[in-house]
């Protein structure tokens, strides 16, 4: 049986939705904000906005802000004495970021279809070929992020976004790099750590490499995701099943 899981209905049953801003912002603002959020905020706040303790950006409740103007001030100036940094955004970018934070909890379709996990596992291991890049438990490849606990750290809508629009959903630390050494060797890999003088990565053969930038002829950080969008590759029911399966991946215990 398939269940249509409507996030906005589910959440608005709770009183916290009394002040609902959704609908106040244009889809274009939200889209723009979503990309800015992924690039500038997700590293600390997490894709779901709840990685920092006592801060849940998608809840619509803030300790330091009530109005959109307050929010803009927090984002522009940062919070003194905390890790929250100031950000330089022009007006349209700021509008986008705020629009996105305000609609985070039901961003995407508003209704995420959740199918059958067992069928989703078959898509994951078969047609989707997800294991050719990802790892779950002891199976699959390590060249892309390990998904063993993805269902407990990402929401259904964030997962859906990764599948439909990987570029928008990509975290900066997950970027891949393309390197040519002075000796002419080409190395492609996933960046794990980087500093002014060196870079650490996992190459296509899953080896951990640490390279001195002085030894490189070419060093390029690629801001597009190597993951293909599955928008046209999988049918809507297949996507729904896949999401159901991803949501069952809750880690090792």
């Amino acid at each position: 049986m398939r269940i249509e899981f409507c996030l906005s209905i589910a959440l608005c049953a709770i009183p916290l939705c009394a002040q609902d801003h959704a609908g106040q912002y244009t889809q274009a603002d939200i889209e723009r904000g979503s990309r800015l959020y992924a690039l500038n905020c997700a590293l600390c706040h997490g894709v779901n906005g709840d990685s920092i303790s006592n801060v849940d950006l998608k809840s619509g409740r803030f300790r330091n802000a009530t109005s959109d103007e307050d929010l803009a001030k927090v984002v522009a100036n940062g919070l003194q004495g905390t890790a929250m940094p100031p950000h330089k955004f022009d007006t349209s970018e700021m509008t986008g970021v705020i629009a996105y934070i305000r609609s985070m909890r039901d961003y995407g379709t508003g209704a995420v279809a959740i199918g059958e996990a067992s069928a989703g596992k078959a898509v994951f291991e078969g047609k989707g070929a997800c294991l050719s890049c990802h790892r779950v438990g002891a199976a699959g490849s390590r060249v892309a992020p390990d998904l063993t606990d993805i269902g407990s750290i990402r929401s259904a809508s964030a997962l859906e976004r990764s599948l439909l629009d990987p570029n928008a959903a990509m975290l900066p630390i997950n970027r891949s790099v393309r390197i040519v050494t002075k000796a002419g060797k080409v190395i492609n890999g996933r960046r794990l750590n980087e500093d002014t003088y060196s870079v650490q990565l996992m190459d296509e053969k899953e080896n951990l490499l640490s390279l001195n930038k002085a030894d490189l002829r070419e060093y390029k950080v690629i801001t597009t995701s190597p993951m293909p969008s599955f928008k046209d590759k999988l049918s809507a029911p297949e996507l729904a099943d896949l999401l159901a399966y991803l949501l069952t991946l809750k880690g090792i215990n």
Partner: protein
């Protein structure tokens, strides 16, 4: 220009495992890597690498430092496999570092349960590796398997109940398809055990209680119910002899620590070494160093295995400098006592009888007993060099405590020590687990040293004295250089043949771990944890 997503052309590749069972058995044949806590199953803390010599050691320089995000005591000894260094960051994070530069590839963070109550600091001594999997024992008594390539947990099993005082600080030991650990908690009235788990699944394979239960031989060495909370913990890694298929582990003190009349009897297998079948956990033999121990003389030392001529015949030996102040030579096939003598000032016994049992000379109550509570030595990895035939110990010399026993009722999860030890000089601070930046103890309270014992004669060959005591383990190398440190914040290189100082570096904090060696790009490196950082040295180029 468009960027081609490189991953699309990717085909899954089956990877060769990094560390096979054979590589663990033959660790000495590949000294570029350091694949077990003590460098090999023989636990000699010896590296055949020979680029750093007594002649060039003065050219040693610091290559890199990695600061840990923790102010806990840093006792981790690294593993190095194919240029990657794996360390634990106290208490239970695992960090993979580029062994050439010290830059981190990944950090696995483990959250200990608030129930954890380790007696003596939230510390960890290191990891084990098998295939592509790292193993870590945690302060809240879990055993975790971690993917060595990406730092992701593969399984996590609860070994014992943290709230009942069980903890783990030991670096595990992998033997074939099992990973072996032991539990600490000797100050909380636990019932100690050593247990083994399937490396792939974490499923428990066997469990050996270090205190026999009713009906088992040895249970009669405990009065009444005292076996139920008699301690006998484990917190240092054992050794393994693949030919005999025996694994050896040193067992901790009986509880309550200082009130032996509460647990009349020999209290087996506390303060003993046990030889177990690693496939089944069955006891093959045991040897007890300190029966009915009133001084907290844990036998939690590293069993050092040596194959050498003994009185004219080739023998499989086990060398053991015990916390109780005596140095023992045992036959590791049978556990037979071959010889023993004190290596520091000892007053609780005047010697050992033919069977290796102490000839007791109890001191009058309220007077000093030598060695003191931290022992003549302790868990600090000793070293044996097959080149010099010398056995090297970190010792506390002329060090005593006054033991004040007290009745102590057992309550689960609460300290169960039966009194306390104090300094022999009223009001003085006896050297204990940790020291400050200034050595406030006086010479009358003892000092540290490195002692080299000639294995053939049992006599001291040389001694290197320090002002402060030492918790540092020892490494010797294939070019007769000995590396160690101490409380004073120096890391030094000595000539392993003579004890002469070759070089010293300042690490600005106490060294409470053993150094190790590895090779990368044809260069020999030495690593040691000190203060709150990992320091790595190599020769100036």
């Amino acid at each position: 220009m468009t960027v081609r997503p490189w991953l699309l052309c990717l085909i899954p590749i089956a990877l060769a495992a990094q560390v096979t069972s054979d590589q663990l058995v033959n660790a000495a044949l590949n000294p570029k890597n350091w694949v077990t806590y003590n460098g090999s199953y023989m636990s000699q803390s010896y590296s055949p690498l020979s680029q750093i010599t007594p002649g060039n050691a003065r050219n040693l320089e610091q290559k890199w430092v990695f600061q840990v995000e923790s102010l806990q005591k840093f006792e981790s000894r690294p593993l190095v496999v194919n240029g990657i260094m794996y360390i634990t960051q106290p208490p239970n994070d695992v960090v993979a570092l580029d062994a050439r530069t010290g830059r981190a590839f990944w950090i696995y963070r483990y959250n200990n349960s608030p129930d954890a109550r380790p007696c003596c600091g939230s510390i960890n001594r290191g990891l084990a590796i098998s295939g592509d999997t790292l193993f870590m024992a945690t302060v809240d008594a879990h055993l975790v398997a971690i993917d060595a390539r990406n730092g992701r947990p593969l399984w996590d099993v609860k070994v014992a109940e943290a709230a009942a005082g069980y903890a783990m600080t030991v670096a595990p030991l992998v033997i074939k398809d099992k990973v072996v650990v032991g539990v600490a908690g000797g100050e909380y009235g636990i019932r100690g055990f050593i247990s083994a788990y399937d490396t792939r699944t974490g499923k428990e394979a066997w469990k050996f209680y270090t205190i026999p239960g009713p009906g088992e031989p040895g249970n009669e060495t405990w009065e009444g119910d005292t076996w139920k909370y008699g301690g006998a913990s484990i917190w240092v890694t054992g050794s393994y002899d693949p030919d005999l298929n025996l694994t050896y582990w040193g067992i901790g003190n009986p509880g309550p620590d200082w009130n032996p009349i509460q647990r009349k009897g020999a209290n087996l297998y506390s303060d003993s070494v046990v030889a177990l079948d690693p496939d089944t956990g069955k006891l093959k033999w045991h040897f007890q160093f300190t029966p009915n121990d009133p001084y907290d003389y844990d036998s939690v030392q590293v069993p050092v295995l040596v194959d050498t001529a003994w009185r004219g015949t080739a023998r499989k030996l086990m060398l053991w400098a015990n916390r109780n102040g005596f140095y023992y030579v045992l036959d590791r096939i049978t556990g037979e006592f071959l010889s023993g003598n004190s290596f520091v000032k000892v007053t609780w016994a005047k010697g050992l009888d033919d069977a290796g049992k102490p000839i007791l000379t109890p001191q009058p109550p309220g007077t000093p007993v030598y060695p003191g509570v931290q022992g003549g030595t302790n868990w600090y990895s000793p070293s044996y060099s097959p080149r010099t035939g010398l056995f090297y110990i970190s010792a506390w010399e002329d060090y005593a405590s006054i033991f004040l026993p007290q009745a102590n009722e057992y309550k689960e999860g609460q300290r169960f020590t039966g009194g306390r030890p104090v300094a022999p000089i009223a009001g003085a601070n006896n050297p204990s687990l940790r020291s400050g930046q200034i050595n406030v103890t006086t010479e009358a309270l003892g000092h540290g040293s490195v002692i080299a014992i000639d294995v053939r004669t049992g006599q001291k060959k040389w001694k290197f004295d320090m002002i402060d005591v030492t918790d540092a383990g020892i490494l010797t190398t294939g070019s007769d250089v000995l590396f160690t440190g101490g409380r004073e914040g120096y890391f030094h290189a000595l000539d392993a043949r003579t004890g002469a100082l070759l070089w010293k570096g300042s690490v600005g904090g106490q060294v409470s771990a053993a150094p190790m060696a590895y090779e990368l790009d044809g260069k020999q490196y030495i690593a040691v944890a000190a203060g709150h950082a990992m320091f790595v040295y190599g020769l100036r180029e």
